[in-house]
Every structure is written in structure tokens, then in C-alpha cells.
């Protein structure tokens, strides 16, 4: 389940902390970076490393916004729904994304390509509306620009 490579990454996270438990969130982020999301099985395996139960890790994974307990698509779209983006046209951007992808917020497309999640302010308020796809930020969104962005993804 956990490859040697992932185990090394968890160990590297642990090294930066005074005790193994402190590395829990960092370890989960590192594993998720490779696997995309955190299944029950994966949590149990990480727990063995850290001396924690899967339930303890679950209480962390469900608390933090960027840890996923369900499978996500190849691209996770984080669409900002906070106040400046709302003023500048969030509703239109959200509706266009839902219609184009054929999913609701919180869902993944059937082909496993896109997951659509609403998110808090991305700190790009002067360039609103904004969203992230994976680790990249896109700003000054319009429906037409969104179509271009989505079509341009590999």
C-alpha cells in the first residue's frame, strides 16, 4: 500500500518534529501528494508509522480543508467563493463550471478528470474572480477564459 518512496517521505517529515505524532498532518499531506486522497487503509498504514490510530488521523483529516477522504479527480478545482470574488462574479463562474463539467460542488466527473470544490478566499481579491487548479492560480476569470483554461489542460 505504502511504497518505500512514500515511507521515506513520512520519515523525512518525522525528522523535522520532536515526536512522531506531531508529523501527522504533514505526513498525510505528503502521502496524499502521491496518492491523491487518503483511504481508510492508507490512514491505518500511516498510523502504524506514527503510533496513532486511523481514527485519530481521521479526526485531523476531516478537520483540515486540504486533506481529502474521498477520491478526487486528476485536477482539483478550488473555486473561491469568498466576498470579493462573490462581488466580482463568483455565481456566474460557479454555474459555468457546474454546467461545463456536469457536476455539482463537491463532486468528481465520471471520467475522473475534475473535482470541483468551493474554497475560502485565495488572497487574489484584486484579480477576482479567482480559482486554483492543482497548484496553479487563475485570475480575472470569465466564462470564456474558463473554457480556454480547461481546454488547455493536458
Amino acid at each position: 500500500m505504502l511504497t518505500d518512496d512514500i515511507k521515506k517521505k513520512i520519515e523525512a517529515e518525522i525528522e523535522h518534529h520532536p515526536d512522531r505524532r506531531s508529523a501527522a498532518v504533514d505526513a498525510m499531506l505528503a502521502v496524499q501528494n502521491d496518492l491523491g486522497w487518503l483511504s481508510d487503509d492508507v490512514l491505518a498504514r500511516i498510523g502504524e508509522f506514527l503510533g496513532m490510530t486511523a481514527e485519530e488521523l481521521d479526526s485531523l483529516a476531516t478537520f483540515y480543508n486540504r486533506l481529502y477522504r474521498k477520491p478526487v479527480g486528476k485536477y482539483v478545482i478550488l473555486v473561491c467563493d469568498s466576498v470579493s470574488c462573490w462581488i466580482m462574479g463568483y455565481n456566474e463562474i460557479r454555474d459555468h463550471l457546474k454546467a461545463t463539467l456536469g457536476i455539482r460542488l463537491g463532486e468528481t466527473t465520471a471520467d475522473g478528470r475534475f473535482t470541483l470544490l468551493p474554497t475560502q478566499c485565495l488572497g487574489a481579491c484584486d484579480k477576482a474572480p479567482a480559482l486554483m487548479i492543482g497548484e496553479e492560480l487563475y485570475t480575472h476569470l470569465t466564462p470564456a477564459r474558463l473554457d480556454e483554461i480547461l481546454a488547455g489542460l493536458p
Binding site: V25, L67, Q120
Partner: protein
Amino acid sequence: MERPLTRNMLPGEEPFDLKRYEMAGGYEALRKVLREMSPQAVQQVVSDSKLRGRGGAGFPTGTKWASVSMGPDVRRPKFLVADADEMEPGAFKDRLLMEGDPHQFIEGIILSSFAIDADVAYIFLRWEYTLAARRLKRAIAEAYEHNCLGRNILGSGYNLELRLHRSAGRYICGEGTAMVEALEGKRAIPRDKAPRPTTAGLWCKPTCTNNVETLCCIPHIINNGPEWFKGLGLTGDSGTKVYGVSGKVRRPGAWELPMGTTMRELLEEHASGMRDGLKLRGIIPGGASTQFVLEEHLDTPMAFDSMGTVGSRLGTGTMIVLDDQTCPVGMVSNLMHFFARESCGWCTPCREGLPWLAAILRSIEEGSGQEGDLEQLSLHTRLLGMGRTFCALAPGAMFPLASALKYFSEDFERHIRERRCPWR
């Protein structure tokens, strides 16, 4: 006009690497401090400069540092935490500082760590700031290579490790003690007020947390002195401030200006005024958890004390502009959904109260508001106010609501009376 914090930034270009940063006078303050100053002397200079925290609360930085346990008997390692968890809706100033001049930020961290005699510093960076993460990672590696970090920094005998922590994300992490919990790998739930983190913070060791913009001021205060820094402000508050404007203005953006610049100058000169055909209805001056102000307040200086005189707060200094074609009820409803979603769930008033208020606001916005809803909202601005909850999240959420009920009462009533949103 002096712009110390942003002078090295060139729009659209990569930030200065260590060599260019040094050519522009960078790491001079660090050399000076390590050569000729004690931690207490650095604390004194910053105290004399009257620098106040730029994260929103405005607490004097020198006073905070003075509360950190010092001396040979202190439990070690001691920590400095750089709060780079900019997640207040409407705030985007720390992003600019970290992406635009990462070495300035790092030098500020090293100087501040020295001032409180810290052994380890963390940058608590929100996950979504990916470009800042890449640039900081590179800059930290450079600083280690050139012995500005690590063992025996520049031959001084001072040691400091700096770690970049990418948070898994939650607004409550911005609360000082919740950030400490998050760094310990726990749920980010605020701690009791006592003992203070400066006595017992991370792993029960003395821990001091400062905002990005606050830390970026430190090298300049060391280089130019406290009197120079005080002279930068217009109204008694020291320094410059990175202000921002978002909403339907002609030219949204962020600018470094003297502390105490008026809201009018920001809106009309720097943001070039409202977009054609739109009128100003209100401003949330310093991020989501500050109170609305109106057009009649525009000549107020954006500084800590002056914003209090018009019933609001400076907060982050990044204003959100409400125009006359945008529904104020919808705006407050949007804010309340944010706060309800981001509540950590620890204390009952916040966990249960915020979703209730969010639901009432949504129903009013959608035309199914009822008689008595406004009384419920008003009552809760007191029941979820300061002192009623475990931390300041819910009271912060009440600030925009209470001020909106005061200034836009006619809009709320019209929604209920007409059973629809007049802007739809």
C-alpha cells in the same frame, strides 16, 4: 515618498535572489545586529519605533517581544512563528510581500528570532500560496548556503533553523494559539488564554508569533532607526502600510503608502474610483471581520486608532468595496457562510450560532425572510459577541453583521417586505 517594503519589487519579474538583495542593501541589518547589538537592544529599537502588528490586531510588537521568556533558565528550544496564513477574506497583502521579496521577509524573521533569542523559526504558510512556497523554499536554501541561517550565523555564534510549514488549511489556524496547535500536528482549536504562548507555546516552550508584514518592517527599522520609522506615518501610527482595494473599482490592487493614508485617497486616487455607472455604498476596510463604514467616513485615516473613531478597525488594511448594484444582504450572507464553515466547532455559540445566522441571512436573501428575523440577527450580534465565545472568530463575524444591520436596515426590511432580493 518612501516605500521600504516594496522598493525591491518589479511587477511581473522574479524577486531578487540573495545576491541582488544584498546589492540593494539586504542583510545589512542582520550584519549590524550580529556585530554590535544584543537581543535586548533590538527589542528596544523596535519598541521605540512604535511598530504595531500588521496581522489585524495592532498589538505593539516591542511589547509582545518583551513578554517572551528570556535568560539562561528558559526551556528550549524557543520558537518564532511567522504567521503567513493570510486567509481573511479580502486580504492579499502578505502574498505580495512574500512573492515579491522573500529575502526581506526571511531577514525580518532572522532579526526577530535573534531579538527573542529563538532557536527555531517556522513560516506558517497557507497551502494555497504555492508561488510563495516555491520562492520561499529557494530563498531559504540560498540563505542557508550563505550562512544567514543555520549554525554560527555569519560567524556570530548565533544559531537558527528556519522551516517552511505548509498548512493543510483552515481559517481558524490564524488564531495565535490555534496556529500553535496546528504546528504540533493537532486540530487547530484555540487554547486557553493562559499561559500565553510567549511563556508556553509550541511544545510548551516560549513561542512568539508575528505577521509577515510586521516582520518585513524589522530590517528597515534596524537600518534607519526608530525615529525614521515613526516619521513615515501621517497620523501618529508608525511606518508604511500595504493597503489594498478589491471590489468593483476601476483599478483594484495593493499599494505601500504612509500609515494613515485616508480611505478616500486609497479609493479615489490609487484605485481610480468606482467603475463607470456605479456608486459607493459602503466599505469593509480591513478584511471580512471588520465593520462597514460609509461614504461619509472616507476622509478617515486608515490607521489603528482613527478607524476606531468611525466604529470600525484597520484590520489588515485591505478594503472590500460595496457598490450600489451589489446586494448588501447578499454580501453579509456570503460573509456569514464563510465564518460558519470555518468555525472550528469547539464552543457551542460559534458552532451552532453561525450556521443559524447564515441560514436566516440566506432565507432573507432568497425572499423567504420572516417577521422577527432581524430581531434574531440583532440579538445574536450580542450573544456571539466578545466574551461569549472561546475565541474571537464569532465576534469577528458579528462586526460586519452588526454594522450592516445599522447602515443597511432599509435593504434588509425591503427583502422581507417584498419577499425577494431587489438586486436579482
